[in-house]
Point group: C2
Chain length 336, copies 2
Amino acid sequence: MSHGIELVHVTRGKSTESIHMGHVAVVSADGRLLRAWGDARANVFARSSLKPFQALGLVMSGAIEKYGFTEQELALACASHSGEKQHVALAWSMLQKSGAREEDLQCGAHLPYNELASRELLKSGVDVRQLHNNCSGKHAGMIAAAKARGESTDDYLDKDHPLQRFILNAVAEIGEVNPQQIEVETDGCGAPVFGVPLQTLALLFARLANPEYAPQIYRDALTKIAHAMNRHAEMVGGTNRFDTVLMNTFPERIVGKEGAEGVHGLGIMNEGIGIAVKIADGAKRAIYPTVLRALELQGIRVSDCAALTPFANAAVKNVAQRTVGEIFAVYGEVSI
Amino acid sequence: MSHGIELVHVTRGKSTESIHMGHVAVVSADGRLLRAWGDARANVFARSSLKPFQALGLVMSGAIEKYGFTEQELALACASHSGEKQHVALAWSMLQKSGAREEDLQCGAHLPYNELASRELLKSGVDVRQLHNNCSGKHAGMIAAAKARGESTDDYLDKDHPLQRFILNAVAEIGEVNPQQIEVETDGCGAPVFGVPLQTLALLFARLANPEYAPQIYRDALTKIAHAMNRHAEMVGGTNRFDTVLMNTFPERIVGKEGAEGVHGLGIMNEGIGIAVKIADGAKRAIYPTVLRALELQGIRVSDCAALTPFANAAVKNVAQRTVGEIFAVYGEVSI
């Protein structure tokens, strides 16, 4: 990973106070690098942007049919959800349907991303649960997939578990990389996570959006995943979360997934275009203006979408909620 | 502000996952730029690193003697405190002594920085108060200063209030800059905050640590402020906060103050050296290894100090608390 170019500025009054660097890659589903800012070959950990592809293990295991998972539950398996009531309930439902228990989850517990849900939980004095973990849907999905495949579930996070090997191989085949060149490390939730060139992440999303160029065996599963995420965007994130707002703004058109440490991947469904972003310093606040600028440069008008404005051009507010600065993208000259 | 050079890397397994850029300036109390990484002339908003100098208004107003403020209360006036019981009680005491009320504060309310204090407050159902704001000591001090100076307090945050003009002038004189070249904007707490070259911030801290080269009229006040901060470091930050640990590790030797958006200023008392840091992207996690590397390069051994190790070389942990990476400084070649 290199630091890339200036993508986002944060101002205070008349001056720039902080700067976010990073990389952007735009790739077509047939594998052409269309545009790049920074280094499209930068090796990045996909983090939660990998979830739609980890869900291939779930869909292709037959667990969806076997356990009667809904499209919403498939969306939750691809989610970094906010731990709101509906997310927790759905993760619980997934466990129940596959005959798993909450203690089978190995994601660990953290407070809900949603501030209201988090405050309510603290106020109630009830312990935070693994179901609140933003990855609980992914983990419930992995356990169900392992069960449907007739495999052990106590070691489902082991990088050598056959389900995890299946996921690695699928990512390598769809992303056209040698599986041995994918760096496998541990994600925040304990699951294996992959380090790949940024343009590979963009290619994965291009083929999620338009599976036509993906190997035949993955096409149906990719289609199911993309549609589930776009149609149930409230399950992929939550109230006021970027991916939820983005996908709700573009029905049947965009599939997108944020990851920790400043990562984002998205696919434009009808065009078969993938865009991947890595903010070098890992800042969440810089992801949104960077992604939305990339969409604008791709000819997709986001500046007219009121729901996206707070993400494209966020206000820096002081404690008293007065606006004292703003956050916005500064890149946009084609450098390739 | 420019983006500077690579200061800190964040790894995951064998690879670099994220990179923090920025600037470091090392200046002597007599005004010489001794070392720099990145651009020592980068214009930075001092944010809460300005607090020791804003406290000049309090000390030089005579309010300390008039209202019987303790050395701890002076330290709190320079603090970004954690909102723990002792901080809230002391801010309250400052208001009482000067005859002010809690509603005279104009800093706004936010949850305590201290997680335990924050959770207890949420659990209790008691509303968060302005006293919990990390800046409440500064604001209580500004109100007391305005009162002692016989000035109005309802507009104490106005950049043209005589107290704020006094502070601006003091910073300009001690930092040897033209006051008209200091950019005045609004800080997170609503107070005026100054944009100055990074090396000016370093010079201010060099002279806080060793006032010998500061204009005569400020020397006693600077000495009082530096000693109050170092001796009552638990009031300047709080439990497990960097500045508190740093100053407690170096009694009568280091005075340091963090600011928002990746800023830090510190002075080495016996040597009259000032070090200022700006992390370009504003990340808090990058401040600590950067500052501690700068101290090491200045010949001050911090690698032996167990209390500082978690700041110099922090572990990246997953939700289950397993270490999956680390955060450490990568700069250190003298570039000036």
